[in-house]
């Protein structure tokens, strides 16, 4: 699909991203040596798995140029629903399937309301999310659910390791790989992107744009369910505020990744969420109170998007021009030899 020139440009951005990650890791490593310990890195991997799944779902919605602000509400309701089912003694696999199905239904409601009936996306998802937040209380009136959690096996999702890496990380990698294949290597992916780029032209090209918009919301809600499942696994209880901290990192990951990589994609979201999770965990390790985390993430998001915007690039180039007025022509060393 691409020329080598394109690839170069792409990989330059990718390399820049890797460099940024290494620099952030090095800074935290110097300020707080525990940051690079095995325990801390494992924690980052676990948190990244949950944040990353939410970001992946959001990626689909952002590709069709919509917003989903129901992530927190969907997460809360599905967390309590799955907790209630675990407490009721359902086997773990059926709990996960039920949770995914519930997520799909909620995402479908938002998606169809927005695509089929033309409701505004932001208002609709705020409403659906708020309903979810409210419904999360119907099982216990707000008390946490923990019965059967340790016998159900859900905590293995957090604790079990495969080849030194937590299973949650494997889950993340597997689902990202699948999403990458679908979005960049199949006609479904092209249709998703076309729907976002120009819905009218996509419609005239025979693409069922409404279906892809609705599908994006369904996928977003299902990914959110998987993300909150990992949070349940880590904490060992279901509480109504579980998932409240999923939304901001997800948005930050998707938009920061897109800003750095020059477009929304699965790979961009992966990089974005890695960076965000490192920053979040790093600050937590350094003793930043948890209630600042959303603020910090949002601040990083703004700085990141600004720094990589076209306007900033122009300023940067102007600065470069100031310091290196001409393209550095190598001084002719040979002349002095002669």
């Amino acid at each position: 699909m691409r020329t080598w020139k394109d690839r170069m440009r792409h990989s330059t951005r990718g390399l820049g991203f890797v460099a940024l990650v290494l620099i952030v890791a090095a800074i935290f490593g110097v300020l707080e040596p525990r940051f690079l310990s095995y325990v801390s890195l494992n924690g980052i991997a676990r948190h990244m798995a949950a944040n990353g799944l939410a970001a992946l779902g959001l990626t689909f919605v952002v590709i069709v140029r919509k917003f989903d602000l129901s992530i927190a509400g969907v997460a809360a309701f599905c967390a309590m629903s799955m907790g209630a089912l675990i407490a009721a003694g359902w086997p773990l696999w059926s709990v996960i399937l039920a949770g995914l199905a519930l997520g799909a239904v909620i995402g479908g409601i938002s998606g169809i309301a927005i695509s089929r009936f033309g409701l505004p996306d932001i208002v609709t998802t705020i409403a659906v999310g708020s309903i979810g937040t409210g419904l999360a209380f119907i099982y216990t009136g707000g008390r946490s659910i923990f019965q059967n959690f340790f016998t159900s096996g859900i905590t293995d999702l957090n604790d079990a390791k495969l080849m030194g890496l937590g299973v949650s990380m494997w889950l993340l990698v597997a689902i990202y790989a699948l999403a990458w294949f679908v979005l960049s290597r199949t006609r479904t992916g092209l249709a998703f992107y076309a729907t976002g780029e120009n819905p009218m032209a996509a419609h005239f090209s025979g693409i069922a744009t409404r279906r892809f918009v609705a599908l994006a919301y369904v996928l977003c809600a299902m990914c959110t369910v998987l993300a909150v499942l990992l949070i349940l696994a880590e904490s060992g209880t279901a509480e109504t505020n579980k998932g409240a901290n999923l939304m901001m990192p997800a948005y930050a990951g998707v938009f920061l990744g897109a800003a750095i990589m020059g477009g929304t994609s699965v790979i961009a979201s992966f990089g974005g969420i890695l960076l965000i999770t490192m920053l979040l965990d790093g600050f937590a390790l350094m003793g930043l109170p948890y209630y600042y985390s959303d603020g910090v993430v949002s601040l990083i998001l703004l700085i990141g998007v600004l720094a990589f915007s076209d306007g900033a690039r122009g300023t940067l180039q102007a600065l470069r021009f100031l310091f290196w007025p001409q393209k550095s022509t190598k001084p002719t060393a040979k002349g002095s030899d002669a």
Partner: protein, 505 residues
């Protein structure tokens, strides 16, 4: 005439490796309508942008009323008396024409809290309208206005500033019908009478003789000729030859041999759509180009979209290869073998921020995936390379976003998309709006080529285009079909049929 109002000499502009303007000399007399001609890429847009302050010249001088000027921003140009109306003027659709005209300069005060004095505003509007008697209701919302009324609002907005001496109009007629064009010309005449000089970009060469006093021709970044219209008329020089630098002859390909006409691919019987068209019937054959002429509002656009399943017809029958079909959405039409080259390529045809590799396969993703799910990237690339070569995309860059191409080349990308979809009925709506003459000839040639294996229908409000390219023509007037009395329309009969609805039914 007295001293020129505007002169440019030795103006140069370079974009990276491309010399967009080389030593341009230009002169504009007060109160003249001066047409700026040239194919896309000849440098006229760059020149206009420099005059209006949107770009800065690299070297050379520009004088207004004898004084050297250098514009760093559009405001500088406006202050110096040069107003510009863009090709697609940005107006606020929900506001009235009057509010649009004075938008941003309702008061003399620069304060955010400055009160808007309605009476003073209306007085200013009255003064403006006293100078230019536009027959439009400026109190209605711009969104409700016709194309020519919007253009008039944009022009009034541009000249509502005191001291405007030069008005630049960038392809104002490209979206207008013949009748609307006359209204615009009337307004231009009023401006000329007020002593405002007009620089006017157009691709429609006959307009030069209809409205302009003089013209300049740009080619390859240089201004190669300046002539008065009388000179051109008496010397019989061909404007198209001047623009292209070689004798072009006819831009239309030869007509088809009537005997070579193949099977009926598409048949439409008594098709009707409320507020669109009534009882339209025709057949389209392989091996010929069918022309459908109609002004804006004639129902032509609606008819094309209706056949393509965008707005399915209320009544009537569509047959493809003899079989009746019911097409309720574009997907079904594409599956039935119809491809629509839409009239508005920027909103209906292309994802502008994406390159050809993204745009071309969009209407046939099944083929892009070789019938399976995963894309066949290498095959896709070769296919698209071949198609962009075939349509002569210029520059031939597969990775440049569609927005980086000229109008004509954007249309070629849509054409490549149509070719990739392998349809056997092609409907072209307004195929050459905003397309330069070189690209037009190429597009007409491709239509003829396409007609060898497919049925081609050209729907246009440009009578010469329909008459020039089509083998057989029908006209649509206020939703009703007009057919020739004697088998075929002459050019003039076709024009009358489309404008007046005359002809046998």
């Amino acid at each position: 005439m007295g001293a020129p109002v505007l002169t440019a000499s030795d103006v140069c502009k370079r974009f990276g490796p491309v010399q967009a303007l080389r030593n341009v000399d230009f002169r504009l007399e007060p109160g003249e309508v001066h047409a700026l001609l040239g194919i896309n890429g000849a440098g006229k847009s760059t020149f206009i942008k420099i005059l209006s302050g949107a770009l800065q010249k690299d070297s050379g001088t520009i004088r207004i009323g004898g004084e050297d000027v250098h514009f760093r921003a559009p405001e500088d140009a406006i202050r110096a008396g040069i107003a510009t109306v863009q090709q697609h003027p940005e107006l606020v659709p929900d506001m009235s024409g009057l509010d649009n005209i004075f938008l941003g300069r309702e008061t003399a005060s620069r304060s955010l809290m400055g009160r808007i004095d309605r009476e003073a505003l209306e007085a200013r509007a009255d003064a403006l309208l006293a100078r230019f008697a536009v027959p439009i209701d400026l109190s209605q919302e711009v969104g409700q206005m016709s194309a020519v009324e919007r253009e008039a609002v944009a022009i009034l907005q541009a000249i509502a500033v005191d001291g405007i001496r030069v008005l630049i109009l960038d392809e104002p007629t490209s979206t207008l019908t013949d009748v609307e064009r006359e209204d615009l010309f009337a307004l231009m005449n009023q401006l000329r009478a007020q002593g405002i000089a007009i620089i006017y970009i157009t691709h429609q060469l006959e307009e030069v003789f209809a409205i302009a006093d003089s013209f300049s021709v740009f080619r390859g970044g240089a201004c190669i000729a300046r002539m008065s219209v009388e000179e051109a008329r008496s010397s019989g020089v061909s404007l198209a030859d001047l623009m292209l630098g070689e004798a072009v002859g006819d831009i239309f390909p030869p007509k088809a041999d009537p005997d070579a006409r193949g099977d009926v691919f598409l048949e439409v019987r008594d098709l009707s759509l409320t507020h669109g068209f009534e009882n339209v019937s025709f057949t389209a054959h392989r091996g010929e180009i069918l022309g459908l002429f109609g002004l804006v509002g004639s129902g032509c656009d609606e008819l094309a979209k209706s056949i393509f399943g965008v707005d399915p017809p209320d009544q009537g029958e569509i047959r493809i290869h003899g079989k009746p079909v019911s097409l309720r959405k574009p997907r079904e039409a594409l599956d039935a073998g119809i491809f629509l080259v839409p009239g508005d390529r920027r909103t209906e045809g292309l994802a502008l921020s994406r390159h050809s590799l993204f745009n071309v396969p969009m209407a046939n993703l099944r083929r892009a995936a070789g019938g399976r799910w995963g894309l066949k990237s290498r095959q896709l690339r070769t296919d698209i390379q071949r198609l962009t070569d075939q349509v002569a995309l210029h520059p031939p860059h597969l990775n440049t976003p569609a927005s980086g191409f000229s109008g004509g080349n954007q249309q070629k990308i849509v054409l490549a998309k149509g070719l990739y979809s392998e349809a056997d009925i092609y409907i072209f709506v307004e195929p050459t709006v905003g397309v330069d003459i070189g690209a037009r000839a190429k597009i007409y040639g491709l239509m003829r080529e396409l007609s060898e294996r497919a049925a081609v229908i050209v729907v246009s409000s440009d009578c010469d285009e329909v008459h020039g390219v089509a083998d057989r023509t029908i006209a649509l007037h206020k939703g009703r079909q007009v057919e020739p009395e004697s088998g075929v329309f002459s050019r003039d009969d076709l024009l009358m049929a489309g404008i007046m609805g005359e002809g046998s039914l």
